[in-house]
Structures are given as structure tokens and as C-alpha cells.
Amino acid sequence: MPIEEIGIGRLAAGVDSSIVNRLIFIAVVIVLTFVVFVLRLFQLQVIEGEDLGNRARRNSVRTVYLEAPRGDIVDRFGRELATTRPAFGVHVMPAEMRERELTFAALGSLLDRDAGELAQRVGAPTGRRRFQPVRIAEDLPYGSRIRVESHLYALPGVFTDVSPRRYYVGGSLAAHVLGYTGEIQVAQLEKRAFADYRSGDVIGQAGVESRFESTLRGRAGGRNVVVDVAGRVDEVLDEVEATPGGTVVLTIDRDLQRAAEEAFLPDVIGGDEKRGAVVVLDPRNGDVLALVSRPTFDPNSFAGGIDSATWKELTASEGRPIQNRALAGQYPPGSTYKAFVAAAGLEEGAIDPEDRVFCPGTFKYGRRTYRCWKRGGHGSVNLHEALARSCDVFFYQLGLKLGIDRMAFFSNGFHLGRKTGIALGTEAPGIVPTEAWKVRRFGEVWMKGETISASIGQGYNLTTPLQLAVAYAAIANGGTVFKPRILLRQVGPDGIVQQGPEPESLGRVPVSPEHLAIITRALEAVVHEVGGTGGRARIPGVRVAGKTGTAQVIRLEATEHLEEEEIPFQFRDHGWFAAFAPVEAPEIVVVALSEHGGHGGSAAGPIVKAVLSRYFKASMPDEPPSPPGPLDAPDPLDPPKPAEEAAQVVRN
């Protein structure tokens, strides 16, 4: 419609004439845009059309999603703990199948599977689902794979592929450190943190696998390929290679880890396989050299998606193998706690190193009688002897002198009762009771008798093996509480090294180095002196300091008349052993817990010894199995080793 028809009057009232020019400008822009579009369409459809059309008629550009191989997890010396291996899968594309019956029969015999079951698995999909490959085998052994591949030409619609699959080199070795991987869960997919994941992606679900997911994951690639009717790749159009994940270097020492795990096997301690945990730290920097939780599991069984029966078995089983006892298991520290009470006593001036206490085997307080584990009593003991022989009566009295809140202050100083902050899974905080804590928790007033229990690490006190190791590391290194460190460094796929966190001090214990030295001398006596409770951790040529502990699960009276074998398993005591070596310049802290294992010296001592022996590369001497005795029974002492043997000890 020409402008004149509109009428001048209307223009004056409405749109001014300068706008009309601008509207024409916009119209020109729009028309030019469309000209570009039409030219481009002409180019794509008419000029290149035939070629592209052929490609489409061969129907058949497929994108292959190239999963990035997950990065390796290696120990501190670069030895593989977890890596990635190829897994061969077989798929069927229903739309491209000919002669269903024959194909399934052939596949059945090639894969040693029932043809009917395979047919059922693929079903008879209709519509678009006919073009979706169905996986019928996901991790074929080499032999079957060769058989299938050599028959592919006769089996249109069947194709194989290779995908990376997590492989834990040592099976269950360090399972609780490494964690496991699995398909990303629906709930995780909805989180923003996982925005760039797609359903079916593999993701770390626990432990190091989960904690360092961003390093390990890598970046998926893709390949656009033209396939022929049988699904064979005809031509690769373009490809973006997957970027493998980076390597995570842990502070773990694989050999120590293995030694610590094998220590739980029947041939080391005798009897059945034991439950429990071991934590091995370097007291100079907090490096976690080994971390064990038993029973354990094989993370390889999760790698290709775990079936619900196995998962149920793992989670519902009474031994709870998935739980990481070293971090999340809370146990009364028992007599291992005495080292902290002793430190508190010295620091507070509540006791002099030479003060002596007479232990008749019992301690009367109010109307109750508290027993020493040694029924006959220890006689007259000073602090040194009381720690070495683990005299309960001595510590009952010391505990009463200090009071619960002073004991708690020093325990907290050793970082007990708080999470250590290790970069690994869920951690329990433990409990260090105080008067205020009891009021808060139970609404009840603290009883003096409870202080007596607390002074030997019973009662409300709860500790994780990791916490105890951190605390003993502080004794060993002269007072620094180190945050346990699991990550040494990360190495990107491009070789760029990113160092892990520097050793981090969580604070200093409120105890002077002189007093710590007194404690350390007593702890050495535990292992090396006649009457010490920890002789089983002795190894030739190395000065070892340690403390045994026996944590009661139920009250003493209920079971004390029974021999150990007669006590129902779940009521048996937990055995602790916390040790460090060499005394003159400690390099290693080992804390072992044998759950329901009985006495600390006999149940956990051999575990500590196995680890220390491995660390100092001394061969384990044969030792006669000692008969189970009452609580914390001292072991028959080995005679001191000759000096030349000690000189041969090679330090790691």
C-alpha cells in the first residue's frame, strides 16, 4: 500500500515521517538476512545436497561416545593401586538384525549363553527403540571376544565395542582408601555440581574416587562415524579424542598397606579372620602410609555396575564391609587413653614422675569397688611403671585428682573428640565427655565414678582409630598435631603436577616436650621392659614405643568369669595397640584395632608388629602362639636380639 493512500492527517497524528525511513531500513535488514538464509539453504540442499543425501541414505552417521579413561591412583612411590583396562562389550541393534533366531543361536554358542535368554533380553522393540543398541555382554574375556569378532560378518546388527573399565590392581587392597566407582545416580544428576554428567556416566562414589573425582574423571570425547548396514565403521568423519583423567598420587605405601591388611588374615593372628582397622601415619607430617578397615570388599565388583544381590550382601551383612572403621568406627580407647591422662597429670602438676601408688588389685570408691585388670595388683608403681604395665588403679586415682574436665581439656589438646578433617569419606567425631557434655546430652549430672571409668578410657569415651593415630603421632613428634594427609600430588594428563596440600598443623598439644619425653620413655617400656604389656610388638633392632588397650564392650562383671572363647563374639573386648618407632626419631605411627579381638597386646600387637617389620624390612621371627590370658596379659618376653642383627636393619 503506497504511503499516499494512508493520508497526511494520520501521519501527523501518529507516526512521524522520520520513523518511516527507519522502518524501511529495518525491512531492508530483514530481507537481506533472508537472502543469506536462502543462499545457504541453496548451498546445502542443492549444491551439496546429493553428497549429503547419500550419506544420509546410508543412514548412518553415528556418534560414538568415547568415555575418558579414568586417571590412575598410585601410591607414594608411583605403584598402581587403581587403573583402567579395556572391557569388551557386545551390542545388538534390533533394526539391523536379520534372521533373529539364527543370530541369537549363534551368539548363544559364541558367548556360552542361552539363546532364549539373549532373545528375551533384546525383546522385539518397535518404533524408535529399534535403533537403540541393546547391550548383551559387557566385559567379555579375551577368548569369547575373539570368537564373536571373527563371526561378526555373518551377524548383521551385532557389534562389539571397547570401553574403559576401572580396575583395582590389588583387588580389595586399600579398598576403603580408594573407594569405588559406579554409574551416576539420578539424585546426583540433578545437582548443579554434576551438571556436565550424563546418565550412565561413571563417577567416584566413595573414598579417593569420589574425593578427587574432578582430577580422575578426564573429559569424554566423541567420534562421528559412518557405519554400513551391518554396523561396521565405514569412515570416521571426525573425532575428538577423550582426555584421560589425571593421576592421583596418594601418601599410601602399597607394601605397608598390604602388610597391614594381611595381618588380619588367620595365619598371622591365628583363629578366624579378624575385624578391625589399622592406621599408619608418618608423625613428621601426617602422611597416611596405610589405612585398613576389615572386613573389606573388592571394589572391582562395583566397576561394571553392581547387581543388587551383591550390594545387599555388602551393606546388610553383619560385618558391614563397606563401612570404613578407621574413620567412622568409634570405640572406647581403653588403656591407650592412659598416655593422655598421664600427660595431663604431669602438665597439671597433679603427679610427680617419682610419686608411687600402691595397687592392691582393687580400688574402692564410695560403695563401689573398681578392679585393676591384674587381679593380684601391681604393688607399688610410679608413673613409668603404671604406664608400662597399664595399672588401672594408678590411673583411677590420677583421674580423680584431675577431674573429668581437665582430662577432657588435654584430650581435646590431642585433637580427640573432633574430626581430623582427612580428605576421605565420612568421619566420626568421637566423644570426649565433660560435665557440661553429660548435662547437654543426657540432662544428668556427672558422677565421680564416671571419672574413674574415663581415666582408663572407658565409659563415654569414644575414639576412631584415625584420631588415636593422630594423637600418638603428636606424642611421637614432640607435640604437633598434624592433619592426616592422603593426597601427595595430582598429575594432570598433560603432565602438569599439582602438589597436594602442605603438611598442616592443627595445633600443638598443651604438654611440654619434657613431659612428652617422660611419656615416650614409659611407652617404650611397654614394649621393651619386663612386665610391659606390649612385648608382642617388639622387632629386632628397633626401639618401639607403644601402648596396649582393651576396650570393654560391656561391663567387666558380666564376662570376667568366662574364658575368652566362651564370651559371645559381640561381647568380646576390642583390642588396641598404638605404637611409634624408632623412639629416638619417630618415623612411623601404627594404630591397630582388633574389633572384638580380645586383649590389645595379643590381638592388636601382632598387627602392629607386622606393619613395623615391613617398614623396617626386618623378617618376622617365628614366635610361639601365646595362650590367651586375662586382660592385657603381658607376653612372655623375647630375649633381646644380638647387636649384629640390629645393625643389619635397613630403614625404608
Partner: protein
Amino acid sequence: MFGIDRRLLQNFDWMLLLLVVAIVGVGIINLASATHVDGALTGEVRRQLVSLGIGGIAMLLVLAIDYRHYERFATPALFVCIALLVTTLVFAPVTRGSQSWLFGGRLQSSELAKLGLVIALARYFHRNPPGEIRRLRELARPGLIAVVPVGLIVMQRDMGVALLTLLIASTYLALTRISWRSWIGVAVVGVATLITLWVFVLQPYQQRRILDVIDPGRDPLSSGYQAIQSRIAIGSGGLLGTGYRAGTQTQLRFLPTQHTDFAFSVLAEEWGFVGSCAVLSLYLTLMLWGLRVARNSKDGFGAMLAVGLVGTIFWPLVLNIGMVLGLAPVIGVPLPLFSYGGSALVTSLVGLALLMNVSMRRYVF
């Protein structure tokens, strides 16, 4: 106000309606092919038809009221839109990395915001004729009107829609008389600022994050794959197309999001060069007709409204067709009136009803 004036019916813009019906119709026929499974009417088609019904009713309501009344409500309407965007930001769950859906996914608040913004800007430029704007600083106030909703959409991490909204608002710049030199100055300063920020301020991980947000498809599996598959689909259409429901690319679902963002590829494969050009010319006619409505409108508000509404069709079309033809990066912007998506269809129809409203009241004083 609601009375049906005989003159309104006489002056009704049947041409505009015809164009809209044609485009939506082809869109639904195309959708049926893109989603069809064994000949049955799919849920997508049914939902799209329901949306069309809702859109039709909304159109009637919009048409019944003289558009000049909308001017009075422009400011409150903009505030309602902003409030909706804020509500979405606060309450709506995050889906696929961006949060923009409200009321259980039924309403995309940013869609509504585009219309609200156009009405508000039309009101502003009616009162401050763009033909008299010669200096950049005079754009400060309308700029503010646009920046608030765009900023909120950015916060929803919906970068495609944010860009789109900004482009729609920028349509009005074509009407101003700011000299080319000023624009070059703006461009130089802007680019320099961005480069400085990028090089000196942002950490590499922040740069990566920004790239990921701007272009989530840096992953070759989404953008590279989509681009290749789309090109193959379009190319295989040839001159005359493979025929309805006969496109191998489409029917074999090689095309990703083929009923939403890549709907045009389906059309191009099945109807060929001729079909594609036909649909493109429907759009071209629609937009030129919209400009004609602007020119013929009886007041400045109507003209400004019409220009803005043409912008709401033009920009998503440019981004979508550009993407489908491999001329623009893969940004998930649907083709207006054509792609599957209820919220977008209803708002597009409401926008066109506004355009018809301006058109049919061009002689009413």
C-alpha cells in the same frame, strides 16, 4: 471497551492471522513427523494442540481490549514480570543447569518477560520518540528498563534467552539517530573492557567456566554432533525433500532435539529447498507485514509496539535458523511459532495478537 465494533471486524488483519495460522499449522504437521511413532498421534502433538487452544483464547482476550489501554499498564506489567523472574530464581528447582521454569514447568517466566519488556519499551519510546535521540546518554533510562530483566535471566543461567532478550530490546536502536561514530566508540570501549577483564582479571578456571556457560556445547558430542547431523539432514532434503515422514535422518532420530531447536532441519529434510523457502517466505511476509502495521498505526505507541513485536519474532528466528544452517553457534533458541514448546507458542501468539490489535484499530480514534 469489550463491545464488538463492526469497524473492528471490518478492519481485522486477516492477512496477519492467515500467516500465523499457516506457520503454526506447518509447525504442528512437522512436529507430528518429528515425533511420530508408528503412526500414532504423540503426546507432544497433543500438548502442542492444547497450547494452541490456550494461545487462541489468550489472543481473543488480548484483541478485545484496545491496545492503548495496555500502555497504562506497561510499568506495572514490567514489575510483575520482574517479580516472576525473581520468584523463579528463588523458588524454581534447577533443571539441566538453568532455572527458568515456574509452576511445575508450565510457565517459562523469561518468555513472559520478553513481552513485558517490549510493552514497557514501547511506552518509553512513545513518550521519548527515538527519532529525537541523538546521544548515547539518552539511552541510559531505556537501557535500565532492559538491563534489569536481562540481568535476572542471566542469573537463571539461561544465557540463550538472556542474549535473545537483549537483542529484542536492541531492535529499538535502529530507530534512534545516534551517529555511526558513537556506535563505533561503544564497540571499541566494550571490546577493550572485555579483553582487559579476560586477560588480567579472570583466572583460567573462571574463563573456562564462562566459556562453559556461554557455550555449554563446547563438548563436541553435543554441538559438533548436532551441527553435523543437522547439516546432513538439511542436505539430504535436496531440492524437493524426501517427503513427509520419509526423512531418514529424522525418522531414525539421528537429529537431537529435532522437535524443538532443530525442528527446521526436519522440515528441510522432508520438504527440501522448496519447502524451506516457502516457510521462510511466510516468516518474511509476516515480519514485513508487522513493519507495515507499525507504519500505519495511528499513534506512536502502536508503532513502537509493532516494531518491538517484529523484533520478538525476528531475533529468535535469526538465532535458530542461523544455528540450524551452521551459520551461528549452537544456542538453544527455538523457532518462534514453529518449534515444540507450549510456553513459547502461547507468548508468541499473544505477541501477534497485540500486533493484530494495533492493526485493526488503526482507524479507530
